[in-house]
Amino acid sequence: MSALTLTVHESRDRLGLKGPRAAEWLVAQRIVLPMAPNTWTHSVETEGADALLVARLGTAEFFLEDGAAGTSLKRLAPALQEPPPGVYPVLREDFAFHLGGERVHEVLAQVCNVNFAALSLDSRPLIMTLMIGVAVLVVPQSAAGGERGGSAERGAEPGASVGRAGPAVLGGPAERSYRIWCDPSFGPYLGESVGKVVIECGGSYTGVSG
């Protein structure tokens, strides 16, 4: 079991969009979408740490984040400069954290009402909730990163049928880590406050790292 840590994510490219034709537009850009509301997936065109995370917030809003060395969004962003009707860009300047390691659920239990330990990762759930009073987006992953497989996804081709891209992410609650995003104005407060709990639980908090 790894040590408990809360780390501010290094700066990564992020992109948001919503609107009645947002899904259609993303598919046209060869982006794999999670089918169900409030789930996430990885784009099939990238692998491992560079994978593009695609999260579906509700039905018609999407949040995309490139991996550490990913370049997918650099390709996509110019196309959104003049979006087609029904596609609305959403500025995403989120503060982002990675929380993982031993006693991670003990920390989460003290700062959030959601029982993360009881979540099944099979459907790749995306949690939108409040954490110590701040609206957050949480993606639970296996401690290894949860890079493989997932739930039903829309294929890369426009109009492609639903299929399964691989095996579900497995792993018991003890092996999980969490990626957390929040409004940047709440970032310092959320980091410092959750960081205190992490430190009390024997872990460490690393601030801005990039």
Binding site: G19, V90, L91, P184, S185, Y189, V197
Partner: protein
């Protein structure tokens, strides 16, 4: 939810223990005696290793005996009364050697190095019940228990249509009129002795059963207690801060005194103005003490003031509020670190922290604020307005949605222009304002007040879903940085950093343009809140610090100073601009705020339109007017009352001294009779003195707004 309809209901809701009020009564280790007794009896948890009991009733002595029986040492009983009543429990405490300090009261709880109670400073009470602080002394302890009184739990009873009266003998409210089918028993009925409570319960139960058609009603008469369970005035104001009355709302004795002084001196007004009793505990612990304070301030009785009725749902205090971690979300703009580097003196603004002003070595606070104002009027100033709500709206029906939720018309706003927007609620009351910019035919970007962003966004989402319009909202409040760059030199400096043509003919007053500023994609709005040529610059949060630094670097050689909230308040007041929720209140409509110019009554519909028609027929009850003070000092404060022929005729909502105008100016909400330019008025200040003022036309500064509109084309 299960709804039951009973023919008869017995209210045996008991009484809730209430705390004493003294300095630092919020420290960990200060607790109600009944809570400590419960911890001990049910959970075997001792409240401390050395306990002081603050006593105002017999329950204190009973609790002390329980603590002693479990081996908890009692350092002293601090008896608020001249002597305790004669009772076996009192004698037993004496027999156990517990020190009794009669006619003493807490002066302040002493905070230890770990933030918890380390002692209690007490002082003797004189005959008038006032503390003799000169004779105070400290007693070490790690827990202070308070057993000074009870508040009858009449909330549900009142909601059921019952009425109460205040019993001076019992120092609590007791039922007065009981509607048919409603019965009361026990402590809530003023019956405290156990045997009497049992008898009272049997009586009430029998009468309720008979009312429902079962049996014969009991004719027993159960007398109320003859022993007073509550102290008359367990409030010992230290004079300094932290004498908490309401722990939910952090209200102190001083807060309530201020509210009463400003004219909110009935129980209903005090509640609404100060929010006493409006927190999660619904006033269970605070209402009685607040009433006692108000009664003493007014020289009235608690009975004369009366009790407010708790709103449904009446519920117990949630445990989460009493235990566990406390978190206070705080927002910071992207420029937070830059403010710190510039010696910002912080102030809270909603849940944000903002620079009140920037401290400069060798300058007083007033001098720094003056210099910031002066820079904006004569050179250039830069303020972080990233706390403003910032919302985007996309889609074919965007203009329609804005037309419905704002009082003005926006569907006809030209692309590239902005317009001020006033938001009303259904009753026509002003609830928010901001600037709406049209970026293209189907894309608007608008600001809200700092405190209103989340509420406005939520409400617009709800309405959009309700109306089924074809548009989508995005709240980018935290994701965008925003500055106001204002002053006669603003254009000259900004032009060096941007590719946007800033000349009047290319970028007129109230226009919006998009381009680059210091290498960052930016939206610029030419606005005039502070009354000078100025640009509101909106950029992605991550680019904020770089653009801020570039503006500072370019502006300092030409006299730039960053300015804070306080300077902005002066500047906007010179222009006569009101601030929603400061100069308006929960009843102010656009007629009263002289803001009908921002209302398009001819539109088919907007929220509040129907009410405005009614309000127009009724006429204003008050008018927001400019005022000028006859003398520089003393300067009234916001909230001070306008007095006309001995009666309240208005209140000051904003006031400041304007160096640019060399006089003190303000805004005041006045009765219609006084709301005439040139009319002399009188304002009652803190010490009761009346100061003279005159109703004046606003704006005070540059009344034709020439400086913000036609500042030449120097770029």
């Amino acid at each position: 939810m299960t709804k039951m309809r009973a023919k008869a209901v017995v209210f045996a809701t008991g009484a809730i223990e209430t705390p004493a009020v003294f300095r630092n009564n919020d420290l960990p280790g200060v607790m109600l005696a009944s809570g400590a007794a419960r911890l001990l009896a049910r959970h075997g948890v001792s409240p401390g290793r050395r306990v002081i009991m603050v006593a105002g009733n017999l329950d204190a002595y009973v609790t002390c005996l329980e603590l002693c029986s479990r081996g908890v040492p009692i350092a002293a009983i601090v008896e608020l009364r001249s002597a305790p009543e004669s009772d076996a429990a009192v004698s037993a405490c004496a027999a156990r050697g517990i020190p009794l300090l009669s006619a003493h009261a807490p002066y302040e709880a002493v905070r230890g190095p770990d933030g918890t109670v380390a002692g209690l400073t007490i002082a003797p009470l004189n005959a008038a019940g006032r503390l003799d602080a000169n004779s105070s002394r400290r007693i070490d302890c790690d827990a202070i228990l308070m057993s000074v009184g009870w508040a009858a739990a009449t909330q549900l009873f009142l909601q059921a249509g019952g009425s109460t009266r205040f019993s001076e003998e019992l120092q609590q409210f007791v039922p007065k009129d009981l509607p048919p089918g409603i019965f009361a028993a026990g402590r809530m009925n003023g019956v405290y002795d156990l045997d009497s409570r049992l008898a009272d319960g049997r009586r009430a139960g029998s009468q309720a059963a008979a009312h429902a058609g079962f049996g014969v009603p009991s004719t027993a008469v159960v007398a109320r207690s003859t022993r007073c369970p509550s102290h008359r005035f367990p409030i010992f104001d230290h004079g300094d801060a932290k004498n908490f009355v309401d722990f939910d709302e952090d209200l102190t004795v001083k807060d309530l005194e201020n509210a009463a002084q400003q004219g909110f001196d009935s129980s209903e007004l005090l509640k609404r103005y100060s929010t006493v009793g409006m927190g999660p505990s619904q006033g269970k612990h605070s209402n009685m003490n607040a009433l006692r304070i108000l009664a003493r301030l007014r020289g009235a009785s608690v009975e004369q003031l009366g009790l407010t009725t708790a709103r449904p749902m009446y519920h117990p205090v949630p445990m989460k509020l009493l235990a566990g971690r406390s978190f206070y979300p705080e927002r910071r703009t992207p420029i937070d670190a830059q403010h710190g580097a510039l010696n910002a003196v912080w102030m809270p603004a909603g849940n944000w922290r903002r620079p009140e002003y920037y401290a400069v070595s060798g300058e007083s606070r007033a001098q720094s604020i003056d210099a910031e104002v002066h820079a904006v009027r004569h050179a250039v100033g830069l303020i972080d307005v990233g706390t403003l709500g910032k919302i985007e709206i996309h889609g074919p029906d965007s203009g329609e949605l804005l037309d419905r939720v704002y009082a003005g018309r926006f569907s006809d706003l030209k692309v590239g222009m902005t317009r001020y927007g006033l938001m009303l609620d259904e009753s026509g009351v002003i609830v928010d304002d901001g600037v709406i910019a049209r970026l293209d035919e189907e894309h608007f970007y608008f600001t809200t007040t700092t405190g209103g962003s989340a509420t406005v966004y939520r409400e617009l989402l709800r309405l959009n879903a309700l109306w089924g319009l074809d548009c989508a909202l995005v709240n980018v409040t935290g994701h965008r940085a925003a500055f106001n760059f204002a002053g006669p030199a603003s254009r000259e400096i900004l032009q060096k950093l941007t590719d946007i043509d800033l000349r009047d003919e290319a970028f007129p007053y109230l226009a919006v343009r998009m381009g680059q500023v210091a290498g960052a994609a930016a939206r610029l709005m030419r606005v005039g809140f502070v009354g000078e040529l100025g640009y509101e610059i909106h950029i992605a949060a991550g680019r904020g610090p770089g653009v801020w630094q570039a503006l500072i670097k370019a502006g300092v050689p030409l006299g730039l100073r960053p300015f804070g909230v306080e300077a902005q308040r002066v500047l906007r007041l010179e222009k006569g601009h009101f601030i929603v929720s400061q100069d308006t209140d929960g009843l102010t409509d656009p007629y009263e705020a002289n803001a009908m110019w921002a209302v398009a009554m001819k539109k088919p519909f907007f929220i509040g339109q129907r009410s405005l028609r009614i309000l127009q027929a009724r006429g204003p009850r008050q008018k927001l007017m400019g005022i000028e003070l006859a003398a520089v000092s003393p300067l009234p404060k916001e909230g001070h009352l306008v007095i006309e022929q001995g009666a309240i005729a208005g209140r000051v909502t904003s006031v400041t001294h304007s160096r640019a105008l060399d006089k003190s100016i303000g805004l005041a909400m006045l009765s219609p009779e006084l709301a005439q330019v040139g009319r002399d008025i009188h304002i009652r200040i803190d010490n009761g003195v009346l100061v003279a003022a005159r109703v004046a036309a606003a704006p005070f500064y540059d009344p034709k707004n020439l400086r913000q509109k036609t500042a030449g084309s120097s770029a």
